[in-house]
């Protein structure tokens, strides 16, 4: 008995020690680890890592964690256990970004961006709007030290695309997409007459509803009034907000959305548009690469969401697509910054743009992009992004608003009822935060 007990204790202790030993052999202290979620860019990243190692003898390890929800969870879990890699991306809203910074997991990159290497200041190479998404301005609502905390890898706009072939089939001019909401509705009627499904988007993912509704709201009431609503100074029951919601009712009444779009994920919506089963789609500029993979012969053009009024510009969501931050607690933070600087240089950006069909964040690489991407790039002047808003809506209100739009699209609620419900939640949240 005693002998077996001793043996057991030795065996258990050995197991425990093995369990407590470092999990992996330590990689070279200079090796840079990057975590990302961009499965469409994985091959290009691996190639660039190989090139970097050949050039600078510093290994770079790109670890892909997809889908993006799983990646976001992994990064949060790694932050909780202080196991973040040298470089990673933060998915989510600006408040998540702020939490990571305030918890000491992100390097303030402003000094590096303002320094020059090879004669040009780093930040001058990059699109301002892409950098702005990663910037916290002075007096920001989160109390973060002002500065730029992330490096944009590419630029994205979220807008509309239309199928030129289906347009022709409906007797419409394939080079003249609708310029305003009335035209959009009349074009939809023309498409309906030819039994062509009209508009698809992954409205089952509520952030897409949010983006589309936000575009319309900015156009109808101007961004100042939208921000005033977020700040609690204008109620959601205001006539302008009801008008925004009424447009979704009109979309239902005119049967503009394809059946099932209200619970559709964006991947399915992309398949629907790529397979020419819808004339319009609301999607991000990453769709160029996606559609190319799904249907290389697809003939389509990019357009802004149709304007409801000429009083205010149509503002679309745009700015940095994927951004990387550097872990402040990493021993390799300096090498990591050097790697990001190299990654945003002309040659690497041109390579990424060609391989992944995304808009580069480096201004000099813009001449390498395809014509359809250039159409997206043309609309960059109209781009804004929730990350650059001076004030943000709280998640419960955003969710109530977006879910309310789903309820309008399925004919369950009226715009007025949704506005009242959203305002009720807004008031509750305002009271909570007082």
């Amino acid at each position: 008995m005693r002998h077996s007990l001793k043996l057991f204790i030795i065996f258990f202790a050995a197991l425990s020690f093995l369990g407590c030993s470092p999990s992996d052999k330590k990689e070279s202290s200079q090796a840079i680890t990057v975590w990302h979620w961009m499965s469409d860019r994985e091959a290009a990243f691996q190639e660039l890592a190989k090139r970097y190692e050949e050039q600078f003898h510093i290994p770079v390890k790109f670890d892909l964690y997809a889908p993006s929800e799983a990646y976001a969870q992994r990064v949060k879990a790694a932050a909780q256990t202080d196991k973040l890699p040298d470089i990673y991306g933060i998915l989510g809203e600006k408040r998540d970004f702020a939490s990571f910074i305030k918890s000491g997991y992100v390097v303030n990159l402003t000094p590096s961006l303002e320094s020059s290497q090879g004669g040009m200041v780093w930040k001058d190479k990059l699109f301002e709007k892409a950098l702005a998404v990663n910037e916290f301005i002075s007096g920001n609502e989160y109390g973060v030290t002002p500065g730029v905390y992330g490096i944009p890898l590419d630029v994205t706009t979220i807008q509309m695309v239309y199928n030129k072939k289906l347009y022709e089939k409906a007797g419409l001019d394939p080079n003249r997409p609708p310029a305003n909401w009335e035209e959009f509705v009349s074009h939809c009627r023309a498409l309906k007459e030819q039994k062509i499904p009209r508009f698809v988007s992954g409205f089952g993912e509520i952030w897409l509803i949010d983006a589309f509704a936000s575009n319309l709201a900015m156009n109808i009431m101007g961004q100042e009034k939208v921000f005033a609503t977020y700040a609690g100074k204008v109620p959601y029951t205001d006539a302008d907000w009801v008008k925004v919601l009424s447009l979704f009712k009109q979309m239902r009444d005119e049967a503009i959305l394809v059946d099932g779009a209200v619970t559709m994920v964006n991947k399915t919506a992309e398949q629907t548009f790529a397979n020419e089963r819808a004339a319009y789609a609301f999607n991000g500029s990453w769709c160029v690469n996606v559609y190319k993979g799904m249907n290389p012969n697809l003939q389509y053009g990019a357009m802004l969401p149709p304007k409801v009024t000429n009083q205010n510009p149509m503002r679309i969501w745009g700015g940095a697509g994927g951004s990387f931050v550097v872990n402040q607690k990493s021993k390799n933070s300096e090498q990591a910054i050097q790697f990001l600087r190299w990654l945003t240089d002309d040659a690497q950006q041109a390579y990424l743009s060609v391989e992944t069909q995304n808009l580069p964040s480096n201004k000099s690489s813009l001449d390498k992009i395809s014509p359809i991407l250039a159409e997206f790039a043309d609309d960059m002047d109209n781009a804004t992004h929730p990350n650059v808003y001076p004030v943000h809506e709280v998640p419960p209100v955003t969710e109530a608003f977006d879910k309310g739009i789903q309820s309008i699209l399925i004919g369950e609620k009226t715009p007025e009822a949704v506005a009242q419900e959203v305002q009720r939640i807004k008031e509750k949240e305002l009271k909570k935060n007082q």
């Binding site: 998540d96 939490s99 059946d259 699209l409």
Partner: protein, 295 residues
């Protein structure tokens, strides 16, 4: 003598130490941690968390209609699973309990859906239910019921039922296997003796099968309730909780609150309340089954 006793006792504790450590690390600690987090307003990232007392619970219980609506949805799916799914499982188990040709093949076929991933099942049914090119709509048109065609998962009248059907299709195999095992454990001579006494099939079922199967029914019911109330993967793969809140269930609300809204503490409070509700339901069921056995 006392020293020897202590040594022996210590030896016993050393033997259970690994199991205890595993249980503590992976069950007890997370369980207690959820309680701790539920009284904070932690965002899931920051190393600091603020104690907010019972305010999360107060808001959840008295002012969160969406959560209670999701609870109602889960109960509705559970009710369907308890009745339709388990009835189907019982009928199939009764059929397979007889010496029918190819019985083993049927057993394998019926057990296939549960071993498939919920996400895969959800994606397959997405194609079946698709409003534009779905198999179900094609079939309805083929049999002359084209007027019933719709986007089954996006229509508020059908979304929850459509999701329930997927869940039941995926889940009936579990009940089938357990019920079949229960049926096969009933001594055959009981049936033979009853037949000699002139009992027909219904009498055999009512007076032998049902009483002897009560513990199995209880087990299947508890597993069905706990499994269905925690339905998640199928919802995520089909409707994401929409349209509106029509297919929201407690787990999708917890995930949305935790990941989507960054309210980790509040989501933990939801988890605690949901766990307590499941515990109460299970206890009621065990109590009821004990009473049934006494009757």
């Amino acid at each position: 003598m006392n020293l020897q006793k202590i040594r022996n006792g210590l030896g016993n504790y050393v033997f259970i130490l690994p199991a205890f450590l595993l249980f503590f690390t992976f069950s007890l600690y997370p369980f207690l941690k959820v309680f701790q987090l539920s009284v904070t307003n932690w965002d899931g990232i920051s190393p600091h968390m603020t104690y907010v007392g019972l305010s999360n619970f107060k808001d959840l219980i008295f002012d969160n209609r969406v959560f209670w609506n999701s609870m109602g949805n889960a109960l509705w799916v559970t009710l369907l699973a308890l009745t339709v799914q388990n009835l189907l499982a019982l009928v199939l188990a009764l059929l397979c309990d007889r010496d029918i040709r190819g019985g083993n093949i049927y057993r394998v076929i019926f057990y296939l859906p549960p071993v498939l991933s919920g996400i895969v099942v959800g994606l397959i049914w997405n194609w079946i239910y698709d409003g534009n090119y779905g198999l179900l709509n094609h079939f309805l048109a083929f049999i002359g019921l084209g007027d019933l065609s719709r986007a089954w998962l996006s229509d508020p009248k059908t979304a929850l039922v459509a999701v329930s059907v997927i869940h039941m299709w995926k889940g009936f195999g579990w009940g089938f296997v357990i019920l079949l095992a229960g049926l096969q454990s009933i001594p055959r001579d009981l049936y033979e003796a009853a037949r000699v006494d002139g009992a027909n099939s219904w009498i055999l079922f009512k007076n032998i099968t049902v009483p002897l199967m009560i513990p199995v029914f209880v087990l299947v019911s508890i597993l069905t309730i706990l499994g269905t109330m925690q339905i998640f993967d199928i919802i995520i793969a089909t409707t994401g909780g929409g349209p509106g809140y029509h297919t929201e269930v407690p787990i999708t609300r917890i995930v949305q609150t935790m990941v989507g809204s960054g309210q980790f503490g509040y989501a933990c409070a939801m988890g605690v309340v949901f766990g307590i509700i499941l515990l109460i339901i299970s206890m009621i069921q065990i109590r009821a089954s004990k009473m049934m056995r006494q009757v």
